[in-house]
Each structure stands twice: as C-alpha cells, then as structure tokens.
Symmetry: C2
Subunit: 118 residues, 2 copies
DNA sequence: TGTTCATATGAATAATTGTTCATATGTATA
DNA sequence: TATACATATGAACAATTATTCATATGAACA
C-alpha cells in the first residue's frame, strides 16, 4: 500500500472537498467503535431485550418468557449487551437480575424511533 | 405452536413482572424496524460515509477517495443508506451528489459517541 | 458433601452481509 | 449516433453472527 494512494475511480474528484473532509474525519478507531456499538443495537432480539429492560429489571428466564425464546439464546445476547456496557446485573442467590446500564440507550432509541416513524 | 406457550426455562418466573413488561412492549414490527435502522449504522464503512457527509455533500468518487475504497463498494453502501432514508441525493450531469437526509442521524451519533467515550 | 436449579458457555449450523470483479445504465458531448 | 465516463447493479466469495443443543458452572440447601 502506497502513501497517498489514489483509488481508481473517476476523474472528477473534487480535491478541495476531499482534503477538507479527510482532515476533519474522526480517528478510525472511534468510528470503528461507534459501528460496533450500533451493531449491538442492530439485532431484533437485543432490541427486544433492551425494550423489556426499559420497563423493569428482570432475570434471564423472565426475559426469555417475555420474548418467547429459550434461556440459552437470551443468555448469549445478554453477554453481547454486557460486553458493550449496555446492561448491568446483580446476583441474588441463583438468580441474576439484568438492567440497563445508562441513559444514552433510551436517547438513542428515541431518536431511532423518531426516524422510523416520520 | 400453542397459545400462551411457556418456554422451558426455570421455575422462578416472576409472573407479575413478565405480564406487566409483556403488555408494555411495542409491536414487534416497530422493534424489527428499529433493529433494521441500527443495523445500517452498524458497519464502519457506512459510519465513515455518514461522518464524511456531516462535513459536506459529496459525489460517489469523492467519498471513495476519502475512505480509500473503490467506487463499487461505496455505491453499494450508499444504496443501503438510501433505502434506510438516511441519505438523499441530487444529480448534476453525470455526477450524483449525496447528503444526509435528516438531523436524527447527528443526534444518534452524538449519543453513541457519548456512550463509547465515557 | 451431594443434589437441584438458574445461568453461562462451547461447538455446530444456517443465514446474513460486505467487498470485489465484471458489466450495465444513463447522461453529456463530439 | 457513437464514445466517454460517473454511477449502479448482479453474481460470487469470504467472513460474521444468531440460534440450538448439550453441557459446564456455581449458588443454595438438604
């Protein structure tokens, strides 16, 4: 890979715009992390889990009941949500109660909801 | 599939909570659409395209230059963004200029950014 | 300590998806 | 109309991922 490689494309590249935009792009790492975060929201099972947790903290098998799915599937997805720091949990005997980790989640959902319903 | 099927899980289902939460869940279709929307944000190429368009409208090959990717890849992704009504475009001769469709996108990005940087 | 049970996890499978290559479309101009 | 060129699209391939099944972990309690 060469430095300043130009990619085979069209001849009508607007150099000033390209340079200005390029210089203002956030670091790749940030953009990658952002995509990873949204990827977590991009699955209907996880969206349902999050929506359910808006209402109340719940144990794994409660969530499984609400979604009509088995315990293993929910547990796998809770792990993904946990790794993205979107849910937290507390243990009470054998039971583990999950809840939402912060308020950005609601804000993101609200904006998303506004987009799809307009 | 039976009506009111209970899924094999644990015996410790908290019925009141499950019923309350179940009754307050938005329709599946909404939750599915929401997941589909976030799925669009869940790819780093598309995140980069959106970030680039925050700065300026651009033609396809400008975007390709900024991202260091080929024209076809960008065009495919622009189609996904278009279908999700996240970008709009205008034609000027042979050139097609893309720009962001609405302001929810910025709001969603800001919240996402706050989540990953805290 | 041994059993029960809620939850977690590993492996396997099926489905989805991003990129590339090749080519099509459609606009401008000679 | 023929050519050039920006963009779009279809097919193919590789990679990722959601779910299931089977089993492991670890807490409570007899």
């Amino acid at each position: 890979m060469e430095e300043n490689e130009t990619f085979e494309c069209c001849d009508e590249v607007h150099d000033e715009v390209v340079e200005k935009v390029s210089s203002q792009m956030p670091p790749d790492e940030i953009l990658y992390d952002l995509a990873e975060l949204f990827k977590v929201f991009g699955d209907s099972t996880r969206v349902k889990i999050i929506c359910a947790l808006f209402e109340s903290e719940m144990c794994v098998c409660d969530i499984a009941q609400v979604l009509g799915m088995n315990q293993s599937a929910i547990s796998h997805q809770l792990r993904v949500l946990k790794q993205a720091r979107l849910v937290k949990y507390r243990r009470e005997g054998k039971t583990v109660y999950y809840s939402l980790a912060d308020s950005h989640i609601q804000a993101i959902f609200n904006q998303g909801f506004e987009h799809i319903t307009e």
